[in-house]
């Protein structure tokens, strides 16, 4: 590839030198540059307008619902029965609150878990791990990012769910919490599956942020007699906070949209797990917004249901986009406040 380009460049130079037509050179170069500029502009317009078109389309499809019932669907409690009713006659009353709660619980849980595990992995990869093993471990972590989510769902469904059922769900527990259909699937397994899905994204960003901390920070720490561990925890990690936080927010944006894996292990019920149930909360079934769009896609031919599914998509899209924006803002703010300067800026 590089060889070919070099050869072309050379032959071009030869040609110019041979003909001695220096006057043609600048004109042609100008023309080339301006064509390239226009094409690149076109490419970026396409890329940028896709997001805007997406928002317009998705929100537009949700508008019939808003015209009929305002925003009452946002705090309504009933999902499954409302769908049954809307399917048999034209009713525009829905309740997506259980789906919103389900999404918040799984996302929050997974972000916390991925934050803790991922921070450990990143410190190992960027700071303390022996150099020989860093490379292979990092490669493996990055490979994890490429595993399709349905594979996580399948393993969750066939391995983790039956294990949870055997290990934690006793007859007494079933009777004590008889109003919750407990079968091993639910919040806990959903969080586990989601954690492993977002972990590589977080580790990648966090490792890069740690590596971006200027070397003189570490030297300073060691110079005043701190151990390598203390240097990392007291100096390097705090200095990398902007990037790490941004990584967490990006991981959250990835987590809220996951549909297939959560739909496989979430327990197939639009139920709100209750904190008052203690640890049983983790065994409670739930359904997320993204999972509902997949699972209830069969009813798309009914206008009100199509509209409410698009309304869910709009909520997802807007939350995901605002999380991405938030990540940028947080990164910029924290970096300014902490006065971290890269080596280049000094």
């Amino acid at each position: 590839m590089g060889g070919t380009t070099g050869a072309t460049a050379l032959s071009h130079a030869e040609q110019v030198g041979m003909d001695g037509l220096v006057g043609d050179g600048p004109l042609r170069r100008k023309l080339e540059t301006s064509i390239a500029k226009w094409l690149l502009l076109l490419a970026s317009v396409i890329a940028a307008s896709t997001v805007l078109l997406l928002i317009v389309f998705v929100v537009g499809q949700a508008i019939p619902l808003i015209q009929h019932s305002g925003f009452s669907w946002l705090w309504g409690m009933d999902w499954d029965v409302a769908l049954q009713e809307a399917f048999s006659e034209e009713i525009w009353v829905f309740g997506v609150l259980p789906l919103i709660v389900g999404t918040l619980l799984t996302t929050t849980g997974a972000v916390i878990m991925a934050g803790v595990i991922g921070m450990g992995a990143s410190v190992f990869l960027a700071e303390l791990g022996p150099k020989r093993i860093r490379r292979p471990v990092e490669t493996l972590v990055r490979l994890l990012a490429g595993v399709p989510s349905v594979v996580f769902g399948l393993i969750g469904l066939t391995v983790v769910v039956p294990w949870v059922q055997r290990t934690f769900i006793s007859d007494e527990l079933l009777l004590k919490y008889s109003d919750i259909p407990l079968d091993g699937s639910g919040l806990g397994v959903a969080i586990i599956v989601l954690t492993f899905m977002i972990l590589p994204f977080f580790v990648t960003v966090a490792t890069d942020s740690l590596r971006a901390v200027p070397q003189r920070y570490r030297e300073g720490g060691l110079a005043i007699g701190l151990s390598p561990w203390r240097t990392v925890t007291r100096i390097v990690i705090p200095a990398a906070t902007p990037g790490v936080t941004a990584g967490l927010v990006l991981a959250a944006a990835r987590a809220i949209g996951e549909a297939i894996a959560i739909s496989m292990v979430g327990g197939a019920l639009a139920f709100i797990p209750k904190i008052s149930d203690g640890p049983v909360m983790l065994l409670s079934p739930l359904r997320t917004m993204a999972a509902a769009i997949v699972e209830n896609g069969e009813t798309m031919n009914v206008a009100p249901i199509q509209s409410v599914l698009f309304a869910l998509a709009a909520v997802l899209l807007l939350s995901s986009l605002s999380l991405s924006l938030l990540a940028r803002v947080v990164f910029a703010r924290l970096q300014r406040r902490m006065g971290v300067l890269s080596d280049r800026e000094i």
Partner: protein
Amino acid sequence: MKHSKMWSSTVATVAVALALALPAQAMALSGSLKLSGSTTVQPVASRLASAFHSKNPSVRVAVAGGGSGVGIKDVLAGRVNIGMSSRNLTSSEKSKGARGYAIARDALTVIVSPKNRVSNLSQAQIKGIFTGKITNWKQVGGANAPIIGCGRAAGSGTLDYFKEAFLGTSNQSSRVKTYSSNGLVRSAVAGNANAIGYVGMAYDNSSVKGLKVGGISPSITNARSGKYRYVRYLYFVTKGSPSSLANAFIAYARSTSGQNIVATEYLKLK
């Protein structure tokens, strides 16, 4: 050389002209058909498709699932040639041009885990369970354990018929887990001693136990004789009149040899 080339190309032209002039019936069917929809109809449609393919080797028939709602939507949108539905068409679907052709009858079977000692429920008990009024197996003669209902989501033809046959005007309770295919309901029930679900009879295998309803077992014999009452029609759906190939496939499904294939999974039409 030149002469012979010209001669052979003339022969070829004549042959093509003759072939085109032959009456359509005498020519073998060729082309491809796409089907999608009801996971209840899917297994029997797949069997019909492979039998049809061995009779007409140049016809390809691809069968996908998705659920009745998806099948009807796909066929109306022109994405497939035939939709599969396990429920009757709604009036709005008919007004958009959907036409249903019954190809089989199916008994709806209520299933539990083989570990469950209950083997018979009345229609009223089944209604009570799926509307959330009966919540413990001991209320219907089983162990002291909560009942975990497993059903289908809105849009499923199986749910539609289940409501018509068992629930009347009531809705399925919001505490019933909802799955998007017969197969998922069966595996949920197979893996849980306290679960109960409902599937098309083709999904009632040894991993689950088909319940008697009012003392009548959901066997093919009972369903055929009408003793087991919970029997519905399964349909192929087209938009307007079917194409000649789709028509040939539907006619095959309804023919004697097609119905013999239907009888391996479901009930014949007559």
